[in-house]
């Protein structure tokens, strides 16, 4: 398969764009794979790509129940950032952000990564103290962070509520200029195409229905396309992790919850950055097509339904209007739900499982999209070496048992509070 370039564009334009090769194959599953990744979302495809690229493993399959990128990869609000405070998260997400910065070149696919800056607003003196502390911690970890005051923000984002009537006055905020957004579907497509070029078999419409065990190891995976033998298995199935684990009799420190996201009718450019509200849970950015993309809290009750409920929509919009009163003039044209794997400390789980040759990549809560390349990078390392990368040692499955939770918000073991 040939690379995308200016020459390939010209060549295909001459042929009326009718001779583009397909971007990835549609292979029939083989009898045996060295590694089977379950889930062809961003994380699963990135893991397969880095397994092939960094670790030289060629006999890999990625099994997908539906179509690739059809789960949370295609349902998120596309925000990328690394403004974390605890080392386990901060260093991992910073690695991911560094990979994002080179990703379009690495994959020969434009993921439209746009470092437009992520601004977290602060509305009280205590919140200013908190973002100052976070910003200082980030800078000590070598991550960019800038404290901005009310006047600076008013100049940057005049559409926020700076009136005396604002219920939550803006005091200032923390700006990470290297943060931004990426085109979510392109990330799945780019990783899929690049992994396929390295020989990875991506098998869509192939649901995992069970496992055959040999001692404490998975011998083969039963699927809707037959039984496939394997040496190692990795789960990258986000909200479905609990369901899949139950087929192995495994219970996890995870609850599945539904998170909704929203798109408004398209507008001319108004919101140049990603902005988050400090007095409630609300985050917003503007897509290249002009729609305002925003979201807030999860619906708060366990759910495997990819649909949410109306009270939460009211809740999200209320927070949005408190931040940007002008949103009241807009119509929401689409909203949808995705199933989040909410972990007990709000941080992801990437590492070995209680089963010898099974590796877990789950617990992403609200924030899996930004982790996509980093998650693939360390998960591939963990699978290839049967040992974690230095960046995911602290994010292991056993941390809960040992009382070493990585609780960024200090929310305690209540998954819907993270």
């Amino acid at each position: 398969m040939s690379d995308y370039s200016i020459l390939s564009l010209i060549k295909n334009a001459v042929h009326g764009n009718e001779k583009w090769e397909r971007a990835w194959r549609d292979p029939v599953p083989k009898k045996h794979y060295d590694v089977i990744i379950v889930g062809a979302g961003g994380h699963g495809l990135a893991s397969a790509f880095y397994l092939a690229k960094n670790h030289g493993i060629k006999n890999i399959a990625v099994l997908e129940k539906g179509y690739l990128g059809g789960g949370n990869t295609g349902r998120n609000t596309t925000i990328v950032r690394s403004n974390y405070m605890l080392d386990e998260n901060a260093l991992f997400y910073e690695k991911s952000l560094k990979l994002w910065e080179q990703l379009s070149h690495e994959l020969n696919f434009n993921v439209m990564f746009s470092q437009r800056g992520v601004l977290n607003l602060a509305h009280s003196d205590s919140q200013m103290d908190a973002v100052t502390r976070r910003g200082n911690t980030m800078r000590l970890n070598g991550i960019d962070a800038e404290l901005v005051n009310r006047e600076q923000i008013e100049k940057m984002l005049p559409y926020l509520d700076f009136s005396n009537n604002a219920r939550f006055q803006i005091k200032g905020g923390l700006l990470q200029k290297r943060g931004g957004t990426a085109r979510h579907d392109a990330v799945a497509w780019g990783f899929a195409r690049a992994a396929d070029q390295l020989g990875v078999d991506i098998i869509q419409n192939c649901e995992v229905t069970g496992f055959k065990m040999k001692g404490n190891a998975i011998n083969s995976v039963e699927t809707s396309k037959g039984t496939i033998d394997c040496d190692k298995v990795g789960f990258a199935v986000a909200g479905s992790t609990g369901h899949l684990a139950s087929k192995l009799g495994m219970k996890l420190p995870i609850e599945s919850h539904v998170l909704q996201a929203f798109v408004s009718e398209p507008l001319k450019p108004i919101i140049d950055n990603v902005v988050t509200f400090g007095a409630g849970h609300f985050y917003i950015s503007q897509s290249d097509k002009g729609g305002l993309v925003f979201g807030g809290d999860i619906d708060m009750y366990n759910s495997y339904a990819q649909k949410g409920n109306l009270p939460l929509i009211e809740d999200v919009v209320t927070a949005g209007l408190a931040m940007i009163p002008g949103l009241s003039r807009l119509r929401i044209v689409r909203h949808w739900g995705g199933v989040m794997d909410m972990s007990m400390d709000g941080s992801p789980i990437i590492g070995k499982s209680p089963i010898d040759n099974l590796y877990l990549n789950c617990g992403w809560c609200y924030g899996g999209f930004k982790a996509t390349p980093g998650s693939g990078w360390v998960f591939a390392h963990t699978i290839a070496n049967d040992a974690p990368h230095e960046l995911n040692v602290g994010l292991n499955f056993d941390r809960f048992r040992k009382g070493r939770s990585v609780d960024e918000n200090g929310g305690g073991p209540v998954p819907n509070r993270h």
Binding site: S240, G242, H243, S246, K251, L252, P253, I254, E255, S256, M300, Y301, N302, S303, Y304, A305, N309, L310, P311, M344, F400, R401, P413, V414, P415, N416
Partner: protein
């Protein structure tokens, strides 16, 4: 909107309730005698089924009581509700 039948107040919108979570988790009755493994299981491990889920909701803007609810996590349908001590799942499956 999910509609939940509170045993004390009748059928109400789920907006009136606060979600508490997995109702199958029981705090070790003798905390000082419980092993680390029992605490780990109680604090961190959840059933998280795809399908009927026994859970607590608190009727915070009503009678403030805890209500046990059997709800399908795939469809959000409320299958049964009762008092905290009721065995909703067993009764529902026996029907």
């Amino acid at each position: 909107m999910i509609r939940i039948r509170c045993p004390h107040c009748g059928v109400r919108d789920h907006k009136e309730f606060s979600y508490i979570g997995d109702a199958t988790k029981i705090r070790p009755p003798e905390p000082s005698l419980a092993s680390d493994e029992e605490w780990y299981d109680y604090i961190y491990i959840r059933n998280n089924p795809k399908g009927p889920h026994e859970e607590y909701w608190q009727h915070v803007v009503g009678c403030r009581s805890f209500v046990k609810v059997l709800r399908d996590t795939l469809t959000h349908e409320v299958l049964a509700t009762g008092l905290p001590a009721d065995q909703l799942k067993e009764n529902y499956e026996a029907k």
